[in-house]
Symmetry: C2
Subunit: 273 residues, 2 copies
């Protein structure tokens, strides 16, 4: 039987989800059904949410867990009166912060994801453009403008990571696939040599790589375990020989790959939000 969890927000619900999920992940043996309800801005909206929560409570006989990030006090209090177990994020933290800052909070709705400064969007956009223009080794002439260049075999996680680095941190990440020729020669491709201090390697377990490649091109040499194993071994040999820092992406998420790259390489974010 699944325990139902609601993420209720006056904005996107992304904060409620992020916090709620990291709390729930501490209870790995419980099976949760997760429902996000964004843009709850009026008491009427809130009453509809309460009905939905109460219906689940009655039908399941278990209190739903409700992560509530609504800022407006009147709207929030309507939700608090539901028959769920409410985790009230603003009530718990906003008031102590007001005291600490000796200032009233704005209680503005959804402000954290509103653009107050277009320069933030510009930084993200230009990082995304950079990642797309410099994906998959298609072009290398802009590498002098890259913050980082991800290298690794095909499907080791380079493209998702470069896009995440762009979207989340505004970082300009190029990526370059190590081909069989590169691997056979057991050294860095010439074009990468002058950017050696920007290189970061991604590697992956051979079996997992074969499974990912099979999704794209089943029953091919490209997706065979032996081919994957040879390429991975070759890539790691180059990383070790050339002292390129690298990370195994097999069991970690794109978020985790990205933040570990930042922590290891020391490159600075261009965005704080």
């Amino acid at each position: 039987m699944k325990r139902v969890t609601f993420f209720v927000s006056d904005g996107t619900g992304l904060t409620a989800e992020a916090l709620g999920r990291s709390l729930l992940s501490q209870f790995g043996h419980i099976d949760f059904e997760q429902i996000t309800i964004p843009y709850i801005n009026t008491k009427e909206d809130a009453r509809t949410v309460v009905k939905r929560i109460n219906k689940v409570a009655e039908e399941s006989g278990l209190r739903p867990i409700v992560f509530n990030t609504i800022v407006n006090e009147e709207v929030r209090e309507v939700v608090t009166q539901c028959k769920g177990f409410t985790v009230d994020i603003f009530d718990t933290f906003i008031k102590p912060l007001e005291k600490e800052f000796n200032a009233d909070s704005s209680y503005s709705v959804g402000k954290s994801h509103a653009i107050t400064d277009h320069s933030v969007y510009n930084v993200r956009l230009s990082a995304i453009d950079f990642a797309l223009d410099n994906d998959d080794g298609a072009r290398t002439r802009h590498y002098d403008k890259a913050d980082i260049i991800l290298i690794g075999v095909s499907r080791s996680g380079k493209t998702p990571t470069s896009l995440y680095l762009a979207l989340q941190f505004g970082i300009r990440a190029a990526n370059y696939p190590l081909t069989e020729d590169d691997l056979d020669e057991n050294h860095l491709p010439r074009v990468l040599k002058e950017y050696k201090n920007k290189l970061f390697g991604l590697t992956i377990d051979s079996a997992r790589l074969a499974s990912i490649r099979t999704e794209r091109m089943s029953n091919s040499r490209y997706a065979s375990f032996s081919q994957c194993e040879a390429e991975v071994r070759g890539a790691e040999a180059i990383f070790n020989k050339e002292r390129v820092p690298y990370l195994n992406t097999t069991d970690i998420s794109i978020e985790e790959i990205s933040t570990r790259i930042l922590a290891t390489s020391g490159i600075e974010r261009r965005l704080q939000s």
Copy 2:
């Protein structure tokens, strides 16, 4: 004078940041310096953090704000003893949840961003591949497999939004730029007609569009205000005439565009995390 804020985590720090920023955004008149310290897993790590926080406290004469999402109690308590104002996320919420679930939490480190199930990564990866393969109207033959097709003039926010939808929600978003020819004819391009129920329009204020286009190609007709204004007017006319739901992206973030599209269109996420 900036008020210094630390996001201290045993994992990526993304949860601490997301929560912390939405709380801080309620104090818009205060200028914050934000510092993320991820991967604090030992008491020794924590003591180094405490020294850094205390140094800021002494030099600035103001208590830094410390958002703490460390799960391990011993490590967390070291950080709590700093001279900052600590917002202790797990201590506040984990214990009541243990009581509610009548179960101990796993206190596992960084679990929320670890991959426990590769199928999640597969869904994200295939959504990213889809967004890249179907970016900018380059190909339209896979539109039957799209969850949504974003349309709008060049630089109205389609590409960043389609990538965010893929990364965050596993949604397969194609995007198609409305060209001058489309706009002159004042109707949907033929290729889009059979997918009308998948279309979602993005629009943007002309002045903002001109500014974005100028970044890419300054002093061009493409970036001129009059051209931007004509294109935007043409696109909105098509959205209205063909009853395509649409959104003005000028002052909202990519997160907000994406979640509003979900809320408006009713399309289902393929990912819950």
